[in-house]
Amino acid sequence: MDDHLIQVFSNVGMISFIALSAYVLLLTGEISFGQQAFFAISAYASGIATAMWGWAFWPGLVWGAAVAGAAAFLLAWPTLRMRGLYFAIGTLAFAEMVRLIFEIFRYQVEIEGELVGPDGSEGFRGIRYIFESDISATQYMLIIYLLLSAVLAFLFAIERTRLGAIFRMLGEDELLAEMQGVNRTYYKVMATVIAGVIAGIGGALYAHMNTYIEPKIFNVMLGVHSLAYGLIGGLGTAFGPLIGVGLDIGLLESTRIFTGYRMVVFGGLVALLLIFRPRGLLDEAAVHAIKSLWRRFLPAAQTQRSNNRAPD
């Protein structure tokens, strides 16, 4: 693979994390414009850990995701008392707040005669762990996709359990879900934290691939895109948001065909889909249909699956 292609695939992989993060909240019926905040928090936290504290990459990544999860937990308590539109505005305000804090956040130490660390709006340079450890771009891409597969496996496992059912119940009719015994606050906080951690993994990967991060990368457009990916690709399965990312980053941004018109094409695509397929290309009905088709063509597998299958 040539370098450009590796770059494109790595970007698609990293952005997929934030798209999946928004997707988890969309499942529970909440629209968040603020997932970029957790992406940013983890990018900074993991960068600080590896570049300034001398940690290795993996502990740094876990630390970044954990800090993002903790931030999500802190955000969840006040904002989940808000519903619908108010929650969306609340998350947007939170994300902007986080970004503005990073604009003034200075924390630098001298390493080998050079100042390293976040320098307010000048950004955070020198997150060079990956390059210093001789990890090639191809290897890093594999790391990204390894982690992405793990997150996907986790989300598919959730879909099979009552947790997945509860998320979708909350998404469809919150009051009815509560009347069926769902502790709304508990599960919404849980979804927010899961979403924060997933975005955090992406943020840590992003910081280490680019070696340089600055607050303005994590502006609201990143959050808007991450929402749009789920809406384009579909909310029926975790593959949906990936399709959205693939279309946008893989097709629109990375090929030169739409240079300068990317946002026009992307915006138009979102508008069309919201009219014709309000829950995305792979919505619940599409997933249901694909699964029934699958079962019809695999009658042997069917007997085994029917004993063993959670609802679609």
Binding site: A157, R160, T161, R162, A165, I166, R168, M169, E172, D173, L175, L176, A177, E178, M179, Q180, G181, V182, N183, R184, E284, A285, N307, N308, R309, A310, P311, D312
Partner: protein
């Protein structure tokens, strides 16, 4: 089993429910009737924790559930149905019953790995029983949104049962049903009582209320104006003035 004591709910200046006291005994079907806006649905909402109570108390099976959240009321055994049908219309009949069962189970009883591997076999079996009770076996894979009105009502009832209630609050279950369907509902309610479920029935359809209930309380403007057996209520002067007299009885 259920005791309301001085239950009061104000919405701004409106006294939707005003010092309502009543007691429902275990195993009975208790009717709650009254003209539109008399506070019946608000009472149901208060009992299952949708709104906070302004004053008074709610006791259920010996425990105080006045301040219970909806999921806590449900865990105590109070389950409701809705005046307007409320189903997950994008899920199939089977899935609606499946999730209803899942919602209520306590988190602690969940052995994640074991349940995941077995695909929840016991839960599946009880969904089958519920399908049979609701008379919807043949419609199991239909989306709930595509069912007929009567079938949706039956699914609601089956779903309420999935939570293994000690007490069912039925908010106008016969609304919009024809007489034949009302007759079937009558039989289903009696079957429920045989299973040991206590029922609080909020209803406008007098054929059902007068036929099936053991006792009735009548609300008007949030206050209880009468309580007694169906025969007593039919002969009550205050009730006739407030309700039956004005609206010819059905």
């Amino acid at each position: 089993m259920l005791e309301l004591d001085g239950l009061t709910k104000h919405f701004g200046g409106v006294r939707a429910v005003d010092k309502l006291s009543l007691s429902v005994k275990e195993g009975e079907i208790f009717g709650l009737i009254g003209p539109n806006g008399s506070g019946k649905s608000t009472t149901v909402n208060l009992i299952c924790g949708v709104f906070p109570v302004t004053a008074g108390s709610i006791r259920f099976a010996g425990a105080d559930i006045t301040a219970a959240q909806p999921h806590q009321a449900l865990a105590a055994g109070v389950v409701r149905t809705f005046q307007n049908i409320r189903l997950f219309s994008n899920l199939t009949v089977w899935q609606n019953l499946w999730v209803a069962q899942n919602g209520m189970e306590s988190r602690k009883s969940e052995n994640f790995l074991k349940r995941w591997l077995s695909g929840d076999a016991p839960a599946r079996r009880s969904v089958e029983e519920l399908l049979e009770f609701a008379g919807l076996i043949g419609r199991r894979d239909e989306y709930a949104g595509n069912l007929s009105f009567g079938e949706q009502r039956r699914l609601e009832l089956g779903r309420a049962l999935a939570a293994k209630p000690k007490m069912l609050l039925l908010d106008e279950p016969a609304a919009g049903m024809n007489l034949e369907e009302v007759g079937h509902l009558d039989q289903r309610l009696r079957k429920l009582v045989e299973r040991g479920v206590t029922i609080l029935l909020v209803e406008h359809v007098m054929e059902l209320v007068m036929g099936v209930t053991d006792r009735i309380a009548v609300l008007n403007f949030g206050q209880k104006i009468a309580e007694g057996t169906p025969a007593e209520i039919q002969n009550d002067k205050a009730v006739q003035e407030a309700y039956l007299g004005g609206s010819s009885g059905s």
